[in-house]
Amino acid sequence: MSGRLLLVDDDDAIREIARLSLERVGGWEVVSAAGGGEAVEIVEDGAVFDVVVLDVMMPGIDGPTTLERLRGSLCADVPVIFLTAKLQAADRRRLHALGAAGVIAKPFDPMTLPGEVERILEGGS
């Protein structure tokens, strides 16, 4: 699968690794943003994406808030996948309730990350 993917994470290293993984292994066209504010700006500038991968814990505007803002600009049906270090089932459920298409745990294996994204987009979770 390929398409345009918006990757949002405040940690430079992680963002870089995820970008490499998604581009090289998954074949996505990745646009990165270092925070919620930046992501919203990119989208408001008119960029269109097939999927958004969003970190949960970020300074300033966190993941859930970013999702909320993005919902205003993006078509409501663009899937959003969260990346989170919180592994509790309750946290996962909370994110699903916010309208996430799926949740991927950190740390992730860069070799399987694109596969997980694909699986979520295909309708599994």
Partner: protein
């Protein structure tokens, strides 16, 4: 039914109602008016004796009708209904007898004696006897029954003397002119009369039920009139002085009237009417004793009169009668005395054994009599107090002061009947607190005063002790560091009665504001459900409930409280008082919150660099950065697996910390066991596939009470372990089955097993069967410890069974969902 009487214009309605309710009385009045006018004026032509018969039949019929109506009115009280029915039958016989006699006298014009009519007349006696024996007895004791029997015997013998003199004697001694049948029938009447007299006496002296009291008086009057008529008639017949139209005939006619009055006075009774029952206490009135006295006087009078005239009696019969009467009177006197002595003994036993001291004294202040308890209270030798002045018993008050209080000139003083506190003085001069009541009584015309009371020093002492203990506990209550609220249940809801200073201080309300309030006043809106849960727990019978609801102070700030409620119950089990103890745990809660945040931040902060490390290594290992030399690839693979282990370790440590600190509470909900197993299998399918291990599951359809995420974590953990310790190609079996009200999960592998001495310790942290396992199998050593914590949070148990070399089975039990428990065990 019409009334020939003049109606009173003023109260026509009442009179009409009265007549409608008791028509027999109206008819009786009319009949008596007609009868009286006939007696005075003889306005019907014909033989007066024969016409007398014509008056007998209708009044007999009226008795029959009215007694029938009386029996209907008390149909709910069987004995009373039977009484009236038997009286009715008696009078029916009388009516038939009179009609037959009328046929003989008027139609055949040939008076006959004895005739079929006598058969009916005589049956009146047994029927009335039977009726009188229906009346229940109030006699309680054996001696009372004996006395009643003696009274009856005296009456029968006394009455019998009269009957003997007037009737039987002459028949027996001068019966030459009579045939055997005539004599027998003649004797039968007076004998019936005497027996009836006995039964009557029985009913009169023993006291009957309230329902029959008024009617019974009229029945007695009627029967006495009948017996008198019989006696006079019999005597007149024997002496040949009887003539038709004799006044005795009028007596016969009139004797029916009381029966009609009696029947008319019978009130309605209802089922279980207490008036239809006999009072347990026999009324021992003097009036009852006068009857046998009267009978004795009559008997002796008759006998002496007989002797004076000396007509029929041999001296022997006089002697027999006199001895019989004297014997009966003596016996009755004896038993009455026995009864009296018993009663006296009972009263004396009570007076001597009561705990109250009784002192009686006269208006001069002189002690007349004291009971043993009083002598004990005052420390006096038996008999030593009588004759002394009553003020020797009191401390600090002289008779001259007491006299006006109790009253001395026959008039009661102000303290009579009042409960008084005073200081008593013992013989040795010591003083004690006492409580008395002074009453008055008359003894042989003199007014005496009776003081009844007790030494209350013991009570005063225990009251003091109680006050002391109350003071002590109140001190604890007032000065306690925790808030205490004492509530009473009103209509099932606890209302605060009293709070201590700490409680008021903690909540910011004044004690007055809290009084009457319930706990919802100080409970945070979001935690009201918790309060409701506590209420439900109280209703379910729990006596001690601890919760940590958020409270709101009066100023609106939040107070984290540790609330412990203890319930005091009534004997019925209903809650009566609640003692709520509130500790301020805001500081602890704050510390917990900070720690939570810290753990969360640490988790995040550790995972972030780990994510980069793991990601970088992953990209290198995956060849994304180009092919690596073989040795470097080997090193990178080692770094990846170590990083993975470090990640798991961090996850497990954070997990167990959360569970053990109690912050990861379980939320129990009914969930299908099969669903839990299914979820776990989905998570582990890739792992099992990679390890080449097959998984078989045999799951009963059961619903457990569980926090599904947590239980999935446990099952996943156990299956993950089982896969790790299985050879490629082996099978891991999962089972779920019911054991009474629990659900047993089992995970079995065919691995090398666990030595028996380690079956317990594997659940401890960082404990593995083989130290090398940690490295080889990639475990953290915390999985089973976490599993045990979760299972125990569910109120379950986890354990391992193993045969070394043959594999291991790990089992854990969870409670079934409440709905499931109710269903029958289907196994």
């Amino acid at each position: 039914m019409h009334s020939p009487m003049e109606l009173d214009d003023m109260e026509p309605v009442d009179l009409r109602n009265w007549i409608r309710s008791r028509p027999e009385l109206a008819i009786l009045a009319a009949f008596l008016a007609v009868y009286a006018s006939w007696l005075a004026l003889s306005w019907i032509p014909g033989d007066p004796q024969k016409l007398q018969i014509l008056f007998l039949a209708p009044i007999d019929a009226l008795v029959v009708c009215s007694t029938w109506r009386a029996s209907r009115r008390c149909a709910e009280t069987p004995w009373l209904r039977n009484f009236w029915l038997l009286v009715m039958l008696g009078w029916s016989a009388e009516l038939i007898g009179d009609l037959i006699l009328a046929v003989y006298d008027i139609v055949l014009n040939h008076p006959a004696f004895p005739s079929v009519a006598d058969l009916f007349f005589l049956s009146f006696y047994p029927l009335l006897l039977l009726a009188l024996t229906r009346v229940p007895s109030a006699a309680a004791t054996r001696s009372q029954r004996l006395r009643i029997a003696l009274d009856c015997a005296t009456i029968v013998v006394g009455g019998g003397a009269a009957v003997w003199y007037f009737l039987l004697g002459p028949i027996v001694t001068e019966g030459g002119g009579l045939t055997f049948l005539e004599a027998a029938v003649s004797i039968a009447y007076p004998i019936g009369d005497v027996l009836l007299l006995g039964a009557l006496a029985l009913v009169m002296v023993r006291g009957g039920p309230e329902a029959l009291r008024l009617p019974l008086r009229w029945v007695v009057a009627g029967l006495l009139m009948l017996i008198s008529a019989d006696t006079i008639y019999g005597a007149a017949q024997l002496h040949g002085t009887y003539s038709p139209g004799d006044p005795v005939d009028t007596l016969y006619v009139l004797s029916a009237a009381p029966f009609i009055l009696a029947a008319a006075r019978q009130r309605w009774t209802v089922r279980g009417d207490p008036r239809g029952q006999v009072q347990a206490r026999a009324e021992s009135s003097l009036r009852a004793s006068r009857l046998p006295l009267l009978a004795m006087v009559v008997g002796f009078g008759v006998l002496l009169g007989t002797q004076w005239q000396d007509q029929f009696f041999p001296d022997l019969s006089l002697l027999i009668f006199a001895l019989a009467l004297a014997g009966l009177v003596a016996a009755r006197q004896y038993f009455a005395q026995v009864e009296l002595i018993q009663l006296q003994g009972r009263v004396q036993t009570i007076v001597e054994n009561v705990a109250e001291g009784i002192v009686s004294f006269n208006e001069g202040g002189m002690i007349i009599w004291v009971n043993p308890a009083a002598e004990m209270y005052f420390g006096a030798a038996p008999g030593s107090l009588e004759g002394k002045c009553v003020d020797t018993l009191f401390d600090g008050i002289a008779w001259s002061q007491m006299a006006p209080m109790v009253g001395v000139d026959g008039a009661p003083g102000p303290v009579i009947g009042e409960r008084l506190k005073f200081s008593g003085r013992r013989g040795d001069g010591s003083v004690f607190p006492a409580e008395i009541v002074v009453t008055e009584a008359r003894l042989d015309g003199e007014r005496i005063l009776i003081s009844i009371g007790q030494d209350v020093s013991e009570r005063v002492r225990s009251e003091e002790a109680l006050k002391e203990s109350e003071r002590r506990f109140h001190g604890i209550f007032d000065n306690a560091g925790i808030g205490i609220a004492f509530s009473a249940f009103v209509d099932g809801e606890p209302r605060i009665v009293e709070v201590n200073d700490a409680f008021a201080r903690m909540t910011g309300y004044s004690p007055e504001e809290l009084r009457g309030a319930d706990f919802s006043l100080i409970t945070h809106r979001d935690d009201l459900a918790e309060l409701a849960e506590m209420g439900a727990a109280v209703a379910a019978g729990e006596d001690s409930i601890a919760r940590e609801p958020r409270c709101v102070r009066k100023d609106g700030t939040i107070l984290w409280g540790a609330l412990t409620v203890s319930i005091l119950r009534e004997e019925s089990g209903a809650p009566r008082f609640a003692i709520g103890m509130l500790a301020d745990v805001t500081a602890r809660k704050e510390a917990e919150r900070i720690k939570d945040e810290f753990v969360s931040v640490v988790g995040h902060e550790l995972r972030t660099p780990l994510t980069s490390i793991r990601g970088s290594l992953g990209l290198l290992e995956g060849g994304v950065m180009g092919e690596l030399p073989e040795e470097a690839a080997q090193m990178i693979a080692t770094a990846v697996s170590s990083t993975d282990r470090l990640v798991r370790l961090i996850n497990d440590i954070l997990d167990i910390e959360r569970i053990d600190s109690g912050r990861a509470g379980v939320e129990l909900a009914p969930v299908a066991a099969a669903e839990l197993v299914e979820q776990s299998l989905q998570l582990l399918a890739p792992v099992a596939e990679e390890a080449g291990v097959a998984i078989g599951a045999e799951v009963e359809s059961l619903t457990v009470a569980a926090d599904s995420d947590r239980v999935v974590q446990v099952i996943t953990n156990l299956i993950g372990n089982a896969i790790k310790f299985s050879e490629r190609g082996a099978t891991v079996s999962i089972g779920v089955e019911r054991d009474r009200d629990r659900c047993v999960f089992s995970v079995r592998d065919g691995g090398r097993g666990i030595p028996a001495d380690q079956l317990e310790s594997i659940f401890e942290r960082f404990s593995q069967v083989d130290a090398s396992d940690a490295r080889e199998r990639g475990g953290t050593g915390l999985g089973l410890a976490i599993a045990r914590s979760i299972v125990e949070q569910h109120g379950g148990r986890i354990w391992a069974e193993s045969v070394e070399g043959e594999g291991t089975t790990l089992r854990f039990v969870l409670p079934l969902a409440p709905a499931e428990v109710g269903t029958a065990d289907r196994r």
